[in-house]
């Protein structure tokens, strides 16, 4: 509480401050809003990044968790915060998937992607396609063949609808033209529990969560959803090299409101560019198995547009809920 109160106060201050003195940006503390709770991917990236940005900006960078509704509360909060560059957001692909899911459900999207400018991508980790060790599938091909024989029979588990685990398996199913049954849960932990307990047989979860369980033989890793093999799993192929033309990442990026003056955005870009090379930041990222995979604003924009389009297409092609 002691940490949140000053942060809330700072938000109030920044509202009062308005757009004065863009030239000198930043003249006071910058809030980095994470729509996810402490311990999630966005928060874990933000915590070491904030002090590194602080060293570059010469002003405090405060991580503020505005948590709720799978990221919707925080994203909405930033979409209406003052566009002065003192409220930034660090988030994951829910910024693209939540409005698309709203549209598919026939509701007014809570925000649109074009309300934000992408500032930088910090990291992008592939998910690991995993199966329960008691299953006969030793390869992706074996899984696909079996799933083709019995559509909608194999159960896959996710951390919840539209989470990275769900999207990765969904995109995989659409690419491989197979159908499996979805068991949603309420987070990465419960999803892993359901898989290891044998209540579901397939999932796609983060490397950090997968590697200790894989080392203990509690699950079998079939593939990763990125473009290259991982150092931690040199024998595990990518889905791409197996002929499934897809990439799904658990990425975190920094966004600002699109009305933020370009001069301010460019200062933030520079600061993040320095922060991702900061030795303290690199050390912390290595410990958490979330190595930086930095993209500056222009490249991030191209990449984000493509990623969002791919996810949106997958959401539109999903069987309607309840089926």
């Amino acid at each position: 509480m002691l940490r949140i109160l000053p942060a809330g106060f700072l938000i109030l201050l920044s509202m009062a401050g308005g757009v004065a003195a863009q030239e000198a940006y930043p003249t006071r503390a910058v809030n980095l809003v994470s729509p996810y709770p402490p311990g999630g991917a966005a928060d874990l990236t933000a915590r070491p990044l904030a002090p590194a940005m602080e060293r570059a900006l010469k002003q405090p960078v405060v991580v503020v968790n505005r948590v709720g509704a799978g990221g919707a509360v925080g994203t909405q909060f930033v979409s209406t915060a003052p566009a002065d560059g003192y409220t930034l957001m660090i988030t994951v692909f829910s910024i693209s998937t939540i409005p698309e899911a709203d549209r598919v459900a026939g509701r007014k999207p809570r925000w649109n992607r074009d309300q934000f400018v992408p500032v930088a991508r910090i990291n992008a980790d592939p998910t690991m396609l995993i199966v329960h060790p008691s299953t006969p599938w030793k390869s992706v091909k074996a899984l696909v063949n079996d799933a083709k024989k019995r559509p909608n029979d194999i159960i896959f588990v996710s951390a919840g609808p539209f989470t990275v685990a769900h999207m990765a398996v969904e995109v995989f199913m659409q690419t491989a033209k197979i159908k499996m049954r979805h068991l949603p849960t309420t987070g990465g932990g419960p999803a892993m529990t359901a898989l290891i307990g044998g209540h579901a047989f397939v999932s796609a979860l983060s490397t950090g969560a997968v590697s200790p369980q894989a080392k203990a033989g509690k699950l079998r890793v079939l593939a990763n959803s990125g473009y290259k093999r991982l150092a931690a799993f040199p024998d595990i192929p990518t889905l791409k090299e197996l002929g499934y033309d897809m990439e799904v990442y658990l990425w975190t990026g920094i966004f600002a409101r699109k009305e933020v003056p370009p001069a301010v955005v460019s200062k933030i870009r520079t600061a993040i560019g320095q922060a991702v090379k900061d030795s303290e930041f690199l050390k912390a990222s290595a410990k958490m198995q979330m190595p930086p995979d930095y993209l500056d604003a222009p490249e991030f924009k191209t990449w984000w547009d493509k990623d969002s389009e791919m996810l949106a297409r997958a959401i539109r092609n999903m069987p309607s809920p309840g089926k």
Binding site: A69, A72, I155, P184
Partner: protein, 532 residues
């Protein structure tokens, strides 16, 4: 990477030389726990946890979330010892405001409000606080023994609980809890239904779509348990006493009345023992075990009591049982976390993240690969429980003196603290409106002599019941037989059915008896209930 499933073998290895290994580990753990740094963080964790528990609204989840960033700079053992201290410390502190002012310090203390506050009104507030502290200590210490000796096999067993098993367990739980009410069954079922309905608000976890949120994203995670609990119990109490300016029946006890009498100790021993066992096993199973265990413990004590009519009017068993259960459940929650690296709820999930930040991959090999961490945590929990007892018992005298503060000063400051606490959890103004609304609702319902605890129960259980039910059907492609083809689920549902039939039989037979009585004394049961 091993190709085969090696789980069972590794467990055997661990079990083979259990006793000497446990002793060695524990000694090494104590050696570590008594180093000044670890001691300091265990102490700080206990103090912060107690405060977090005492402050209305702020529970262990909020406390741990807020302090997680602080642990980044510590070594992993200190970090986890600090967070664990907050978790079980909050269970000690949560009882204080519940007993003295009927404001639940956190959600697991709701049941303590009922008889704890009734005891305060009789001048036995000190005894209630002392029993809560001692019960928490006993439960905390015994459940660590369970955690230490049984973690790997118990965690493997907990893994068998998938959606159908969870659903059956919740049904069985609901049935046990149906006995919770002290008044009319219909009235408490109506309140439980209200709670279940409130629990329907929020994101549909199966489809990700929003329900009944009326455009407020803040309602996406549902109506919060904390604002509802603080509103229903605390705010309504403030409103009710504001309307009774002449009543001053809450008196601060004299010093020698602070300790429980020999009879009170004897009455508490059973509930503490049962609460410890119950809490530990409920804590292992995924879900908010510390909240649910307190409800189950209360209803079991009421069921077992020779004088169930005393419950709700200051039965010390109603404080001893739930307070022991919620403490024991926190140790239970560590079982799957330490043995398998899998969280059983939101609080352990954050602790796992804290380990990952330090480069420790929490998984099934954690105990083998990081024995010093495991044993230091265990040892620090023993130490922490002693610290908490030493911290909390003398505070009983201090806290009870709060009752000497005149209402006109006490209640406005309580209102301010409750508002601050509820707001701080999510920085959400919507939560404050919910608290206020729940306060008004609680006021009206209490004037109409409805019981409030079933609402909280419904609110806690609704999302879990719905999720496990729909998950089960997702697993079976809509086939309802899944609940009977899974042996654990089939067994629990059969027990539930038997309980239901037994309950119905006794209702019918008793109904015949009471009907005859009722014609003579029409309002006997109503008059007895009284206004708490």
């Amino acid at each position: 990477m091993p190709k085969e499933f090696v789980g069972p073998e590794s467990d055997k290895l661990l079990g083979a030389n259990l006793v000497p290994e446990t002793l060695n580990g524990l000694l090494a753990g104590f050696a570590m726990a008594f180093t000044p740094e670890v001691m300091l963080y265990a102490f700080v964790g206990c103090v912060v946890g107690t405060l977090v528990g005492v402050l209305p609204g702020v529970g262990p989840l909020a406390g741990i979330s807020l302090l997680l960033p602080v642990t980044f700079g510590l070594n992993p053992v200190s970090a986890i010892v600090l967070l664990a201290g907050i978790y079980y410390g909050a269970m000690y502190g949560g009882s204080t405001t519940s007993i003295l002012m009927r404001i639940p310090g956190e959600a697991a203390s709701v049941m303590t409000c009922i008889d704890g506050y009734a005891m305060t009104q009789k001048g036995r507030g000190g005894a209630a606080l002392a029993v809560a502290a001692v019960g928490s200590f006993v439960a905390g210490t015994l459940s660590i023994v369970g955690l230490m000796l049984l973690a790997p096999p118990l965690a493997e067993f907990a893994l068998r609980f998938g959606p159908p098993e969870n659903f059956a367990l919740l049904v069985l739980g609901l049935l046990v809890l149906a006995y919770m009410s002290s008044g009319s069954m219909t009235r408490s079922l109506a309140m439980a239904a209200l709670g279940l309905l409130l629990g329907m608000v929020g994101m549909d976890t199966m489809t990700g779509l929003f329900r009944f949120e009326y455009g407020l994203s803040e309602l996406g995670d549902g109506i919060g348990i904390v604002p509802v609990a603080v509103g229903l119990f605390g705010i309504s109490e403030i409103l009710i006493s504001a309307g009774q300016s002449t009543r001053v029946d809450v008196r601060a006890p004299r010093l020698r009345e602070l300790l429980p009498t020999r009879r009170e100790w004897r009455a508490s021993a059973g509930p503490i023992g049962r609460g410890t066992l119950l809490g530990f096993f409920i804590g292992i199973i995924p879900g908010p075990g510390h909240i649910i265990s307190s409800f189950v413990s209360y209803s079991i004590e009421r069921r077992l009591s020779k004088h169930p009519e005393r419950f709700g009017k200051g039965a010390i068993e109603g404080v001893a049982g739930p307070e022991s259960a919620n403490n024991s459940a926190t140790s239970g929650a560590f079982v799957p976390m330490l043995a398998l690296g899998l969280p059983s709820g939101a609080v352990p999930a954050i602790m796992l993240a804290a380990l990952m930040i330090h480069g420790i991959a929490p998984g099934p090999l954690l105990i083998q690969q990081q024995p010093q961490l495991f044993w230091a945590v265990i040892a620090s929990m023993y130490v922490g429980n002693v610290v908490l007892l030493i911290l909390n018992l003398p505070m009983v005298g201090l806290f009870v003196n709060i009752l000497r503060v005149p209402y006109s000063y006490l209640y406005p400051s309580l209102l301010a603290f409750a508002t601050l606490g509820v707001y701080a959890v999510n920085n959400s103004v919507v939560d404050l409106w919910i608290m206020g609304g729940a306060g008004l609702l609680g006021y009206v319902l209490r004037k109409l002599e409805f019981e409030l605890a079933p609402i909280i129960l419904g609110l806690v259980l609704a999302p879990m019941l719905e999720l496990s039910f729909r998950q089960s059907l997702a697993m079976s492609a809509g086939n309802y037989t899944i609940f009977f083809t899974h042996p654990i689920s089939a067994f629990m549902l059969s027990v539930a059915l038997v309980l239901l039939l037994l309950g119905m039989r006794s209702t019918f037979t008793r109904a015949e008896g009471t009907r005859a009585l009722a014609s003579l004394e029409p309002s006997a049961s109503q008059a007895q209930k009284g206004n708490p």
